[in-house]
């Protein structure tokens, strides 16, 4: 799975200055998932350009729907990095709606390529596995592009995104 995502993303091939790739993988809900995120950092502002994901959930019954769920999981995860934060004041959560707790919008959405492998002996889930590796892969990509390690969510507290 790591080999496949490396091939898909051209891992190891040189990138122009200001760009970086990051990788992360996980076993989530029975599905092995690896992702590479590529970013561009211009004027200290991060654009999430592209994401490649390889997932191995064992037998896949509906590949098209499965890939869609992985895609949604990736964008759901990246949304957290882009600025989702719950804060408390006076014993209450301060965020009540999308004006204070936004998610990724069209202009921020990366190109996504997904491939499925069917080696795992057990069938795994489709909905969640896209989410957990997306943000660490993004943080690694930002490190590759800038040398800056961000270890707290949302990443937007320490670097700007478009």
């Amino acid at each position: 799975m790591l080999k496949r995502v490396a091939e898909m993303s051209g891992w190891g091939t040189p990138l122009p200055a200001g760009k970086g790739r990051g990788i992360a993988h996980v076993l989530s809900f029975g599905t092995w998932t690896a992702q590479v995120v590529q970013v561009d950092v211009t004027d200290n502002t991060v654009t999430i350009e592209e994401v490649w994901a390889a997932a191995d959930p064992g037998i896949v019954l509906d590949p098209s729907m499965f890939k869609d769920q992985i895609m949604s999981g990736i964008n759901f995860g990246l949304s957290q990095a882009l600025g989702q934060e719950i804060t408390w004041a006076d014993g209450q959560v301060e965020q009540a709606n999308f004006d204070t707790y936004d998610a990724m919008r069209m202009y921020q959405a990366p190109k996504i390529t997904i491939e499925l492998l069917e080696n795992s002996p057990r069938m795994g889930g489709a909905g969640e596995p896209g989410t957990p590796p997306s943000t660490p892969a993004l943080a690694n990509a930002i490190f590759a592009a800038t040398g800056k390690r961000i270890r707290q969510m949302p990443l937007s507290n320490e670097i700007d995104f478009i």
């Binding site: 895609m71 949604s72 964008n75 999308f98 936004d102 069209m106 202009y107 959405a109 190109k111």
Partner: protein, 154 residues
């Protein structure tokens, strides 16, 4: 007693009795029983409630019903009889929706975009399509809009 408010919705003239301050979304859903437009946030932040007023995309949760000027179109009104609008067909072909909640608003925003710009670039689509999709179906929305643009232009 509330005043009578004349409205044209999906080509049908009607009068409703409502507080003119009532959001158009409530009037559509609760008084006229038109459930295509959805309530997502109520503060014009998500676009789930998008309808057309004289062809322009409007977030109906934040539009007082008493101030509507022009003809309202909801997703119920864009097909021709049994034949779905080209945007709806493209949505089906690309299997765009995940949960589906945002999608009637997305489709209405796309219809308005293609009405104004029949051949939108990626950037035009990103600029015009500001509706939230919590499921992140953006790549598919974009592909479906391009497909619909081709069908409509052909």
């Amino acid at each position: 007693m509330y005043p009578k408010i004349p409205l044209t919705v999906n080509g049908q003239k009607q009068e409703i009795e409502a507080d003119p301050e009532m959001p158009l979304l409530w009037a559509l859903r609760d008084i006229m029983d038109i459930k295509g437009p959805k309530f997502g946030c109520g503060v014009a932040a998500c676009g789930a409630c998008t309808v057309l007023i004289d062809g322009e995309a409007v977030r109906s949760c934040s539009q007082p019903v008493g101030e509507v000027e022009g003809e309202i179109t909801t997703i119920e009104g864009i097909s021709q009889g049994d034949e779905l609008h080209a945007v709806q067909q493209a949505w089906m072909k690309h299997s765009v929706p995940q949960c589906g909640y945002c999608q009637s608003g997305q489709i209405m925003a796309a219809v308005a975009l293609l009405e104004e710009n029949p051949d939108p670039s990626d950037e035009d689509i990103s600029d015009a399509m500001t509706n939230l999709c919590r499921c992140g179906t953006y790549p598919k929305i974009k592909a479906a809009i391009k497909d619909a643009a081709q069908t409509l232009g052909a």
